[in-house]
């Protein structure tokens, strides 16, 4: 479905990676690995259409994602380093607004349910700024529960989460893969999803460590 063809990424004068080829099909999970600064986040930003690659193409099906744009973005859920939530809105409002703005209207019951499931029961009506970092992270991740996107691109989704939340997140990932979804993620944490083979993509191996 999603295919990277001879992808090259440059930041300033440095080439982070070049000639990167891989593809992901429904039901697959790719774990992007690499040391700090090897270009993991840059790769995810390129794949989600936030950043422009120096060379190469990203294809969705057979079409370039830059050409498809709306059609591709509808199938994409990207959760980056920044939580993307407003401190002055409540958890519930954040979830609903974020989904509506990305083009997926979520009913209020559905949003309540998602927040309950992600472990924010009783805090749905609090402004997000009074929540802890881990809880804010959960608000951001609750989007995964209501999203209709096929492809999830997750940048360090396990950051700031406690053990229970990590386990919960793993089961969500599992469910998505079993439902023929696709996931590309980065994390430095060990994680395991039952019965699913995790493909690994290593960045920066060819480079000599300085």
């Amino acid at each position: 479905m999603l295919k990277s063809v001879e992808l090259t990424c440059e930041r300033g004068d440095r080439t982070l990676f070049s000639g990167l080829n891989f593809s992901i099909e429904p039901g697959e999970l790719i774990h992007v690995k690499g040391h700090n600064g090897s270009g993991k986040t840059s790769l995810l930003r390129i794949l989600s259409g936030l950043m422009l690659q120096a060379e190469g193409d990203v294809l969705w099906g057979t079409e370039n994602i830059r050409k498809l744009r709306d059609e591709y973005q509808k199938n994409l859920l990207y959760i980056g380093h920044l939580p993307g939530i407003k401190g002055d809105l409540t958890a519930l409002e954040n979830l609903q607004v974020n989904n509506a703005l990305s083009g997926n209207v979520v009913e209020e019951d559905q949003a309540w349910q998602a927040l309950g499931k992600i472990g924010l029961r009783g805090r749905e009506d609090l402004p997000a700024r009074v929540l802890s970092q881990g809880q804010q992270r959960r608000v951001a991740l609750s989007q995964m529960l209501v999203s209709k996107a096929k492809l999830w691109i997750l940048d360090e989704p396990f950051t700031a989460l406690d053990v229970k939340a990590v386990a919960m997140l793993q089961s969500v990932l599992e469910e998505h893969i079993n439902g023929n979804g696709m996931i590309i993620l980065t994390t430095h944490q060990d994680f395991a999803v039952n019965n699913i083979e995790v493909r690994e993509l290593h960045l920066g191996l060819s480079e000599k460590d300085v």
Binding site: L50, G84, L89, L101, G103
Partner: protein
């Protein structure tokens, strides 16, 4: 598409109402700058009446620029801007929604309070009406043009100063015809030509600015 705009407008208004200080600062800045002129120039009413259109317009221009920094900055910092950019909805439309709400929260209050400040500077009734109308047509142009600059300077260190350097020259035509309309009414001439030009600026920037600002945001986040 309409529902997305509705949600966006709802979000902007809710956020603004939970942070009232930000709306008030722009308004207070406008009031204070205008009030400084009688203090500096002296209470000679004829002089004040003569400079009033220019003073009010320059103050409105600075106040509107002051509020521009905030247009995309908060969304940039908390990451919601990333989500807007990869939304399946056209970015130019979302940017347009943001500009419209931004104007109604910062530009419209200036229009509404301008009669009081006009009276303070000794303007007569007719000129005040014309002043309000020029501000009503002109301040949206300021917000629209400003949005492009705000997009370009997003995340740049010292972006505020850079923003004014980019934007202020572009504000000049609006200032000339906005203040000019009021002056020509004061001098007993018609202001139709001025209004036609201001209207043309408004239509032109309505069409071009959201697209330009959207492109600027994509560049800033690259």
């Amino acid at each position: 598409m309409i529902s997305v705009l509705r949600w966006l407008v709802w979000r902007e208004f809710t956020l603004a109402l939970r942070r009232k200080a930000e709306i008030l600062t722009t308004l207070l800045f406008f009031v204070i700058v205008v009030s400084l002129f009688p203090l500096g120039i002296g209470p000679e009413i004829n002089t004040l009446r003569e400079i009033a259109p220019g003073v009010l317009w320059v103050a409105a221009l600075l106040a509107s620029m002051l509020s521009l920094n905030r247009l995309f900055a908060d969304d940039f910092i908390d990451g919601t801007l990333e989500q807007l950019i990869i939304s399946s909805q056209p970015l130019a439309l979302l940017v347009f929604g943001k500009i419209v709400t931004h104007w109604s929260l910062t530009g419209l209050p200036l229009v509404l309070i301008s009669p009081i400040l006009g009276m303070q500077l000794g303007m007569d009734g007719d000129s005040i009406v014309v002043l309000m109308l020029t501000l009503l047509v002109g301040t949206p142009v300021l917000s629209l043009i400003g949005a492009v600059g705000a997009g370009l300077t997003l995340g740049v260190r010292g972006g505020g100063v850079l923003l004014s350097l980019i934007i202020l020259p572009l504000y000049v035509p609006v200032l000339i015809f906005g203040a000019g309309a009021v002056e020509s009414v004061q001098a007993g001439l018609g202001a139709e030509a001025h209004f036609s030009l201001l209207g043309a600026f408004l239509i032109g920037s309505l069409i071009l600015a959201p697209v330009g600002a959207a492109a600027a945001l994509r560049i800033s986040l690259d």
